[in-house]
Symmetry: C2
Subunit: 133 residues, 2 copies
């Protein structure tokens, strides 16, 4: 089995609100293959998808009920502590909820968290050990 | 904000069991920067990380309690219906739980789901509209 994730799909409660968040707060552009039911954002090598939570559960043949911590985070890394601070301010003025203010963390990095409309956690981080390539 | 996910981190209940799953069922190789507390698998353009669920929640400053559907899926796409069938059989004989048998789906593809030890849902899919590039 090749080492590949093609899509990370978020099952969202309000697709319109989520699209607004990713397009107008994050400022991302949807991929052409998006349609009114599912929206894709092209990353480097794979896609983030937004799809209705009920439909996603149905597709996977599981119950859609669930609450609390979802057991995952998404990290968006930048290349300096200053870039973390700047991005958090950029998001804050657009009304994005900052869950953890930028701070040095035990593993040697500098990190913060914001939440999307479903409470999905995005870490905005600088990792001095990660190469920008 | 650039269109990028650097890490997709799963907060897992039993790190040893999860590492066993990804290394010995999926057959993936951990990245060198892994350590005893966090394991990374390099994808094309980003990483999947495994980290203790409690620690991940703590890092994000949220309560770790949570149950039910986590509101996300990960898709591993392959390039034909036969490849879906073959990969599902490969995983099934290794003891991986098949949640949905391979079948044609309404959007024109062919898809199935398996679960990891935390119930994280992996779609194994063929999408005839997706280019292999």
């Amino acid at each position: 089995m090749e080492q590949r994730i093609t899509f990370f799909t978020l099952g969202v409660k309000d697709l319109t609100a989520s699209i607004d968040f990713y397009e107008n707060k994050f400022g991302w552009k949807r991929a052409e293959m998006s349609n009114e039911n599912i929206v894709f954002f092209e990353l480097s090598g794979n896609y983030l998808s937004l799809y209705a939570r009920e439909e996603l559960a149905k597709d996977a043949t599981v119950d859609s009920a669930g609450e609390g911590f979802k057991g995952f985070t998404l990290a968006h890394n930048v290349w300096s502590e200053q870039e973390v601070d700047d991005l958090i301010e950029y998001l804050r003025v657009r009304g994005v909820k900052v869950m953890k203010e930028p701070q040095k963390v035990f593993w040697g990095g500098y990190s913060s968290y914001v939440a999307d409309p479903d409470g999905n956690l995005w870490e905005i981080a600088y990792n001095p050990y990660l190469k920008n390539d």
